[in-house]
């Protein structure tokens, strides 16, 4: 069943339809929040806030204007950006390795039986997290929405309310910077 139908069912009073939407998007919302905020606990609180807000504003979702996924991810990104803005010092929240372990339950459960592979995968994720955390929040959001959520450049621009040219420049600089850094450390 597609998302728009689930939203309609939810608006007719079937709360179980919203449970399905949560189940469908919780990993993506949480994953985006973790990479945006760089802190697992903060990301969990924010992901909950996203779903609560989405639930209370379901009547505002208009399927004619875009997908539910884009609506939810835009909401997540904006809440993350607001949270970062509100964070006085804007200090970088780097994900410690032990926390990254806890977060990566799915990774450990999946097909990575070799301990060395697991170690490399963990290192690579931690490094990507650190490199992303070092970027300015808006540029980080652009990279995550474009490559993580597979939004088009136009959708990213609409979501972040910036011109397409700005998004293009952020994506180029961000991706090129990450490419060089990953290459330097031999992870590419």
């Amino acid at each position: 069943m597609d998302d728009a139908k689930l939203v309609r069912r939810c608006l007719r009073g079937e709360t179980t339809a919203f449970d399905l939407l949560v189940h469908r998007y919780r990993d993506r919302v949480y994953g985006l929040a973790v990479q945006m905020l760089g802190d697992a606990d903060w990301a969990e609180d924010l992901a909950q806030e996203v779903f609560l807000r989405a639930f209370s504003r379901l009547t505002l979702f208009d399927p004619q204007r875009g997908s539910f996924s884009a609506w939810l991810m835009t909401m997540t990104t904006r809440l993350c950006l607001n949270a970062l803005k509100g964070h006085a010092a804007q200090e970088q929240h780097l994900i410690p390795l032990d926390e990254a372990d806890e977060m990566g339950e799915t990774l450990m459960d999946e097909a990575c039986p070799n301990p060395e592979e697991i170690w490399w995968e963990r290192e690579r994720r931690a490094l990507i997290g650190q490199l992303l955390a070092a970027l300015p929040p808006m540029q980080r959001a652009a990279l995550l929405l474009r490559y993580g959520e597979d939004m088009s450049v136009q959708e990213v621009a609409d979501s972040l309310k910036v011109p397409v040219g700005t998004v293009k420049a952020w994506l180029f600089r961000g991706r090129e910077g990450l490419r060089r850094r990953l290459k330097e450390v031999g992870l590419l």
Binding site: T15, L52, L187
Partner: protein
Amino acid sequence: MNDECRHWLPLLHDWLEGVADEEGAALAQFHLRYCPDCQRVVAEWQAVAERIAEALAVSPPKGFDRKLGQRLCVPAPRLLSWRELTASWLLTTGAVSAAFLWLGLSPLTIVQSLSDWLVWVGAWSAVPAQWLQNLWENLSRLV
């Protein structure tokens, strides 16, 4: 990678993102066909995008659904159907009319009372203006 190739990178990136214009896309493809360095860079860019997507594949901690379920224990927002709206309007209008009839008020007296009330409100709203005028005149005399 030589300096000439570095100049190609922004255009190649636009092409890869699908935002290059027709001419730019043709130039990028032509350059890419003969430049192994740039082919490698484009492949690495694609790998970077994959790494970013992988970094997002994280499950929330255990208990996330339970916590959210507890916080979501409120009635779901819902749109009223036309039938519900009509029933609600009829019930409200009926109740108000019944209350007026019970008080012995006919529609005509209600309209008359309303106009009297409006005149009364209008009269009272003019009072502060009158007061201000009096105050101003008294002050002027004193000065």
